[in-house]
């Protein structure tokens, strides 16, 4: 381990990549949870892994954080080999898991002092470090409360603070805002942006399309253990095609009929909005969209609104996986 470098950067190795993975595989019995994933995350970037529940996001992240050994493939994190030098990887990373990795019986400060001591801060330095972290995360007043009495948002903040006892080279965040209310979620987003500005590479998993869209410079979409697309939010949207037709019906009862017509006419799966009465479908060309609209009108289906435009990330995800995104992501404010 290299103690002189604050970021755990070795003097040799890949200079630019924070994470570089080739063909990572993890199987559980017959299930190939991660089925050959390549990943390149440049330093200082917020990189999102987007996918539904059970896609293999957490398994992939646990492998990269040395918590689970890959069955095949290789990877380096901050230039250290995952399998050959797990200790060096651990010295360069921090992980905030999906479930609060805090000791509920201890106070917020005691949780941080415990970790500070494990990292090598002694006595007064450990306490000072903890108090700085508590202050930075707005938890000073709750410092002497037991974590069991914390709200969900406070736990999340303390959990992220616990990952910054040593400023890591790479910070892994597994579904950082799952289960948080909208305000707490915005707080966490603010923190993540702040950390990235300070130069920390962040790899986060999310099932919220809006979260990936808002935060990440690059997004990898994974499903069934495979990476099915990767790029910036703009690139993903462009790859799906810009000709997305959105229609809103005046009469919800005609939804099924309208969906059938659009699907037959445009030969792409139709996605319904959660609120109902709205349909989105890849149209290809404006001409095809026009003809489809004409057929809806001819069938006597009244439209309250229609538009052509860029797909939302949710629609991208739908086009890539053939599955609708998750319910909560729709409520998250994705553009229809």
């Amino acid at each position: 381990m290299n103690d002189t470098s604050p970021m755990g950067v070795p003097s040799t190795g890949l200079a630019q990549s924070a994470i570089s993975a080739r063909g990572l595989v993890k199987t559980f019995g017959k299930l190939r949870a991660v089925d050959g994933i390549d990943l390149d995350v440049p330093r200082g970037m917020i990189f999102a892994i987007l996918g539904p529940n059970g896609a293999g996001k957490t398994t992939l992240m646990r492998m990269l954080a040395t918590l689970s050994r890959p069955d095949a493939g290789s990877a380096t994190v901050m230039g250290h080999d995952l399998v050959q030098a797990p200790h060096a990887v651990r010295a360069a990373i921090a992980m905030t898991g999906q479930f609060a990795s805090l000791d509920e019986d201890l106070t917020g400060r005691e949780n941080l002092v415990l970790l500070a001591r494990l990292w090598g801060f002694r006595g007064r330095a450990a306490k000072a470090r903890s108090d700085d972290l508590l202050a930075a995360f707005g938890l000073s007043e709750a410092a002497t409360k037991q974590v069991r009495d914390y709200s969900g948002g406070m736990r999340r903040r303390l959990d992220i603070a616990a990952s910054l006892v040593i400023t890591p080279g790479v910070l892994f965040l597994d579904e950082p805002t799952t289960g948080l209310d909208p305000n707490a979620r915005k707080d966490v987003w603010g923190m993540i942006r702040g950390l990235a500005e300070a130069g920390v590479t962040i790899l986060l998993t999310t099932q919220y399309l809006e979260e990936a869209d808002q935060l990440a410079a690059r997004i990898a979409v994974i499903d069934h253990g495979r990476k099915i697309a990767e790029g910036t939010s703009r690139e993903l949207k462009a790859a799906t095609g810009s000709g997305f037709l959105h229609v809103a019906l005046a009469d919800v009862a005609r939804l099924d009929q309208a969906a059938t017509i659009l699907e037959r006419r445009l030969e792409h799966p139709v996605q319904r909005s959660a609120e109902g009465a709205e349909l989105s479908v890849l149209a290809g060309t404006a001409k095809a969209a026009n003809e489809a609209l004409a057929e809806l009108v001819a069938a006597g289906i009244e439209l309250s609104d229609f538009s052509m435009g860029q797909p939302s990330l949710e629609e991208v995800f739908f086009a890539l996986t053939g599955q609708p995104g998750l319910g909560e992501s729709r409520k998250g404010g994705d553009k229809p």
Partner: protein, 268 residues
């Protein structure tokens, strides 16, 4: 809320020197001590059963078993100390199972620390629990009229033996805690395994009146060997052979299960 100024301040602190394995283990020991401070009621669970056993056996069965409650207590007290320590080990397995379910150990495992140090900390907590529980039971015994004939040195030697027993048994439940996700299953399984071990021993009665086949089992039961040695240490007259026999099980359990623990923990 977090801003770039406070972040830069956080980042400006130099990374400290990598601590030693011993230092890691002591930090986890400190965690165990904090648990006593924040969850003192755990001691209630630990000492209530042995206190009830002591009172029940001494006053209800004591006269019938040994002629008088006083004589029985003299025989029974060292045994109940062994039973207390053996049963207490179950609780640390439950605690570990709970911790693992919460993702706390994922954080520990992602730190560059000695892999076994969290378990060393659990052991520190266990040993403290054993010492506190055993002291409470001994105090009650002394109030009821128990007299350790070997004096203070005998008691100290007996407590050292209890720590060794607790340490060995602790690994059994650490392994169970690692293998089983539900804490209550750890408890049920633990007591299912421990009840025959504790009752088919010489803790409560002299095996002289048991049928031959059972006596054969009781005489080689590690709990009996531990109890015999502890009686000897507290009453005086323990032989080296008795002490060695009592320590076989704890030493063997540690030798087999400590590496198993590490393997299971790293494999997860």
């Amino acid at each position: 809320m977090i801003d770039s100024t406070s972040l830069q301040r956080l980042q400006s602190v130099a990374r400290p020197k990598t601590p030693s394995a011993l230092s890691n283990a002591l930090v986890f020991g400190w965690r165990a001590v904090l648990k006593f401070k924040h969850v003192p009621e755990q001691l209630f669970d630990l000492v209530m059963t042995p206190i009830m056993f002591t009172l029940l056996f001494t006053f209800v069965f004591g006269g019938a078993l040994a002629g008088s409650p006083g004589e029985y207590l003299q025989f029974f007290l060292p045994g109940i100390l062994v039973q207390t320590v053996v049963f207490n080990a179950v609780y640390s397995g439950m605690g570990l199972s709970t911790d693992l379910g919460k993702g706390l150990f994922d954080r520990f495992r992602s730190l560059p620390i000695w892999s076994l140090s969290p378990f060393a900390g659990l052991m520190v907590g266990d040993i403290l629990r054993h010492l506190i529980a055993a002291s409470i039971i001994l105090t009650i015994g002394l109030i009821l009229g128990y007299r350790p004939e070997a004096g203070i040195l005998g008691v100290l030697a007996a407590f050292a033996m209890l720590i060794a027993i607790g340490f060995g048994m602790g690994w059994v439940f650490i392994v169970l805690g690692l293998l089983i996700r539900t804490p209550t299953t750890v408890m049920t399984l633990g007591f299912t395994f421990l009840f025959p071990l504790v009752f088919a021993s010489n803790i409560m009665v002299d095996p002289g009146t048991m049928p031959d086949w059972l006596r054969a089992i009781v005489e080689v039961n590690p709990v009996s060997l531990m109890t015999t040695a502890l009686r000897g240490l507290m009453a005086g007259g323990a032989t080296l052979g008795q002490v060695v026999l009592a320590l076989i099980a704890p030493v063997a359990l540690t030798a087999i299960l400590a590496p198993t623990t590490l393997w299971l923990y790293l494999r997860r």
